[in-house]
């Protein structure tokens, strides 16, 4: 047996993230003791109508979220307990809502920092209704082998180590969350473990005090002794002592009280718990509590450390008197399935990766490009072209190469609003389309006729140079196999009206002490083609391509330089239109050659 929480306890959790985490811990306990998940519903208005997926073993249980406690208990009439994880400013309303629901008999509030007045009102309301209000600031309640409410008991391994999968003989009541776990562990190591452990919360006026729970333990035949972990402040320990001393009790009472250090510390010092505070007139000191408990006949070890051996003594006496028998441990216990990550770490599974990457890794505290941390690259003076080199070609390019790439990007960042890419982006922007889609609309234009000739130009120039072709051989080869030479020819520019960008780039690259076989070849080709027709000049695509091949970039990456550079311009056009709040545009009729058939009658449908 146990008190407050047992096999028939079913729970609604009021609150958000913290409540979901608690449900996960509760599911681990349910899995350990082989019962189905005891959390049947959540109440969290913002997510009402959705579900939370709670891991249970290797599967997931979908737990519905409702708007109100009444809705939750209407759909799940077995619910008899509520855990409140609502923020301090709204906790009282939530607690009241739960207490006023006829299905609910126990409300445990986990919220910390609840105003004292609110806690008192909740406690009084619960007493009036004959219900239990536990907390605020409660870590939870756990009955070994039957029910866990909240995160009390800690991680799965600790549940097993503390033998919470089966009943023992000791009841535990603590104010402190961390110490509840410690005592549960001590009871399992020095004796046969616990029946029920209750965190009543460290506030000055917990909704339910030691005495109420002592009464419950007294009426639970399985509980043979109760351990109280008290602390200075308030009079709860004194009341417990009064209860214990009032008449002969079936359960043995053991207690420790903290706060003796107060005697040698500044008066009025604030400890971790709100209630841990000596009264204005010295009442509620650790010493007065400890003395009162001793006087009532309770076992009060001098220090926390002495509690374990004291529990052992009590347990041994119980064994000798035949009051309890040595517990039988189950032959095997369910093991919590490991996550893939944990199993891999333990070398227990092998997973075939879905993708493979050779360029970057962001699993540390910052991304590494080809192994180099981004911040180190920045701090050592590297720039964007170097990052391009690392991510596109897996090499740290030289300062000179970086300068060439920078110039290429600057020259091709934009080319006015009329070209296909910019026009695409502008039309989209005027239609109210967002940045990424509008820029994508422009990028879609990049292809064989607009900006997308860099890769092919590079490929063919490289082919010619690698195969030591003459210009004539190359032009014949192209005519026979592929058609016009990519990178040669321009819509508006010509020999007489040269493209300044090409001139600029060629001039710069030729001024450097580097070998440029591709560029040289491309310029020779231009001489021949331009002689045939004025506008068959080396265009900016062809120039970029030849230069980039010369500095070693792989052919397949070459279009990327145009895409990257032009993205700067496309973003600019979108922002520009947005800033002007441009209106939707459409073509004027006079810009269209209507060559469709004249209006005519539709024949009857056959």
């Amino acid at each position: 047996m146990s008190i407050l929480a047992n096999k028939d306890t079913y729970v609604v959790i009021q609150g958000g993230v913290a409540g979901v985490n608690a449900a996960r811990r509760m599911a681990e306990f349910c899995y350990l003791i082989k019962r189905s998940l005891n959390v049947l519903a959540f109440v969290y208005p913002p997510d009402a109508g959705k579900t939370h997926e709670i891991p249970y073993g290797s599967g997931l249980v979908a737990v519905p979220i409702y708007k109100t406690v009444a809705e939750a208990t209407k759909h799940h009439p077995q619910i008899n307990t509520s855990l409140v994880y609502i923020g301090a400013d709204r906790a009282m309303k939530g607690g009241m809502e739960a207490l006023d629901d006829t299905h609910i008999k126990v409300v445990s509030m986990i919220t910390e920092g609840v105003p004292e007045k609110d806690a008192k009102i909740l406690g009084a309301h619960a007493r009036k209704l004959g219900k239990v209000f536990n907390g605020p600031s409660s870590i939870g309640i756990v009955s070994a082998g039957s029910c866990r409410l909240g995160v009390i008991g800690g991680a799965f391994d600790n549940l097993v180590l503390s033998k919470l999968y089966r009943e023992g003989s000791f009841g535990v009541i603590t104010k402190s969350g961390g110490l509840s776990n410690e005592i549960i562990w001590i009871c399992s190591q020095f004796a046969d473990g616990i029946t029920t452990a209750i965190g009543i919360g460290g506030d000055a006026y917990p909704g339910t005090d030691y005495v109420s729970y002592l009464e419950m333990f007294e009426n639970d035949p399985q509980t043979k002794a109760v351990v109280i972990v008290g602390e200075m402040g308030g009079d709860l320990e004194e009341r417990a002592a009064e209860w214990y001393g009032a008449k002969k009790r079936r359960v043995k009472l053991m207690a420790v009280v903290s706060g003796f250090c107060q005697e040698s510390l500044p008066k009025g010092m604030k400890f971790g718990h709100a209630g841990a505070k000596e009264g204005l007139k010295g009442e509620g000191s650790a010493r007065s509590k400890s003395d009162a408990l001793k006087k009532s006949g309770a076992i009060v070890p001098a220090t926390f450390g002495a509690l374990g051996p004291a529990i052992k003594d009590v347990y041994q006496d119980m064994l000798k008197s035949g009051q309890v028998k040595e517990p039988v441990e189950p032959a095997s216990l369910p093991k919590l399935p490991k996550s893939i990550e944990a199993a891999m770490k333990a070398d227990e599974v092998m997973v075939t990766p879905l993708i493979r990457t050779t360029i970057s890794d962001d699993r540390g505290d910052e991304p590494c490009y080809d192994g180099y941390p981004a911040s180190e690259l920045i701090n050592k003076g590297y720039e964007i072209p170097h990052v391009v080199g690392l991510l596109w070609d897996k090499r740290l390019i030289s300062k000179q190469e970086a300068e060439i790439i920078k110039r290429i990007m600057m020259l091709s960042a934009d080319h006015g609003p009329c070209v296909s890419g910019a026009l695409g982006t502008i039309i989209a922007a005027c239609a109210g389309i967002g940045l990424s889609q509008s820029v994508a609309a422009g990028l879609i234009m990049i292809g064989p006729r607009f900006g997308g000739a860099v890769t092919d130009a590079g490929r063919f120039f490289k082919h010619a140079v690698d195969n030591k072709m003459t210009v004539d051989e190359f032009l014949t080869y192209m005519k026979k196999n592929h058609g016009p030479v990519p990178g040669i020819g321009h819509r508006v520019k010509s020999l007489r009206n040269p493209d300044k960008r090409v001139k600029e780039l060629v001039g710069y690259v030729k001024s450097l002490p580097i070998k440029t076989p591709c560029l040289d070849f491309a310029l020779q080709v231009e001489q021949v083609t331009a002689a045939k027709k004025d506008n068959l000049i080396l265009n900016v695509d062809g120039t970029m391509a030849a230069v980039l091949v010369d500095i070693g970039f792989p052919v397949d990456s070459l279009n990327g330089f145009f895409i990257l550079s032009r993205t700067i311009g496309l973003i600019g056009h979108w922002v520009d239109q947005k800033r002007q709040d441009s209106r939707l545009i459409r073509l004027f009729d006079y810009l269209v050659n209507y060559a469709a058939p004249k209006r005519r009658e539709v024949p009857p449908l056959k």
Partner: protein, 399 residues
């Protein structure tokens, strides 16, 4: 609990209809002089000047001056502002109207488990301390306001007679109204006096403790809470408080000058047991500290830096029970970063570190602590199998 100084405390009482003397709180003589031009009562009445700080025994320290005219009040203010008492510098002076009176009474409202209690006595000042049996009480359940009859009965029980019965009952009723509406935990007026001019009861002094947790519903609490142990918070303490107010979970830090055992334990409950163990073994605490509720690692790191910076420490107790949900690896990560930083700044020389902990990911966390040995830290690490406070015994024996 949050203590409120006299000025804002009297402000709250006034808000709920309790008569208080005219008063001003000033930070300089100039301010008082200016106020003197605007407020006639300052020039007309006899005045009391008191240092407006969380200080005990102000009388003995000469920080309360009575029966002053305006000039003398200016002189007293000048003398008090800037005075250093321990760690507190007097920055404010409260100057109030002196109320000539013969009789002194006592009235308080205090929080109890069931609700509250109204305390009334027909003696006041220091007399009530030595005649505590003359204090009469009216116990109230939460949500239950005192009836006029009950208050008059209390007033009679306390020995008030004639028209004072009703006056004291009204006064106590208003005190309850203030207590209940302002989420107070303790209100005390000592003395309550009869103002000779109109025969009304006036609160001459106010002790006000409010529930800091209820601040969210009191937008007009525009005053700072005072430190509760007779000294100002140190810069280090204030920095930790600033972190505490920002995070999920909590970090707490209070310095205790002169100690040599530094505390860095987890848990509001366990931390006190650790402090007890140090005192029980004859050690001297250098601080109180605590982190709990799965705080972020950076917050624990800040706390660690403060602990490592305590002067003259010989041991650091990194204790903790078996955590429920505080991640041991993460929080220890913060502590380890703090230790490394302290060491690189030349701190922690000759300091022994003692660790005991359990909880989620305890093994990894404890292993990480153990590895600090290789970096030259003098650190001893224990797991859940070592009882909670045994590291304190070991630390203090190792001296």
């Amino acid at each position: 609990m949050a203590k409120v100084l006299e000025g804002p405390g009297m402000g709250l009482m006034k808000k709920w209809g309790i008569n208080v003397p005219n008063y001003v709180v000033v930070t300089s003589v100039d301010e008082l002089t200016k106020l003197g031009q605007a407020n006639e009562w300052l020039k007309k009445s006899k005045l009391v000047a008191k240092a407006h700080e969380a200080l005990g025994s102000r009388f003995k320290l000469g920080l309360v001056k009575v029966d002053l005219d305006f000039k003398a009040a200016e002189a007293a203010t000048k003398e008090m502002i800037g005075r250093q008492v321990g760690s507190i510098t007097v920055t404010q002076v409260i100057v109030s109207e002196m109320i000539p009176h013969k009789e002194e009474y006592y009235c308080a409202v205090k929080s109890t488990r069931e609700g509250s209690e109204i305390l009334v006595a027909n003696c006041g000042g220091i007399e009530v301390e030595s005649n505590w049996e003359r204090v009469k009480r009216l116990c109230l359940e939460i949500g239950q306001a005192p009836s006029a009859d009950a208050l008059e009965k209390l007033s009679k029980e306390a020995g008030f007679t004639g028209p004072l019965i009703k006056k004291m009952a009204d006064f106590a009723g208003k005190m309850y109204g203030c207590f209940d509406s302002e989420d107070a935990q303790y209100l005390e007026v000592n003395p309550v006096v009869t103002r000779a001019s109109d025969g009304e009861l006036v609160a001459l002094d106010a002790v006000t403790l409010l529930d800091g947790d209820a601040k969210f519903r009191h937008p007009d609490w525009n005053f700072a809470f005072a430190a509760e142990f007779g000294r100002a918070y140190s810069k280090q303490e204030e920095e930790v408080m600033a972190v505490d107010s920002k995070i999920k979970g909590s970090v707490k830090f209070i310095e205790i000058p002169g100690g040599d055992t530094a505390m860095l334990p987890a848990g509001g409950g366990a931390s006190v047991y650790y402090s007890d163990a140090v005192v029980a073994r004859g050690g001297k605490l250098a601080n109180y500290a605590e982190y709990s509720g799965d705080p972020p690692d950076w917050a624990v790191e800040v706390l660690t830096e403060k602990v490592c910076s305590l002067p003259g420490i010989k041991n650091i107790i990194v204790g903790g029970a078996i955590a429920n949900f505080t991640d041991v690896v993460k929080t220890f990560g913060g502590i380890i970063n703090g230790f490394r930083k302290a060491k690189s700044e030349g701190k922690l020389k000759g300091v022994k570190i003692w660790v005991r902990r359990g909880g989620p990911r305890e093994k990894e966390g404890l292993d990480a602590m153990r590895a600090l040995k290789d970096e030259g830290f003098d650190i001893s690490v224990f797991d859940r199998n070592t009882p909670l406070t045994d590291i304190v015994d070991k630390a203090l024996q190792a001296k």
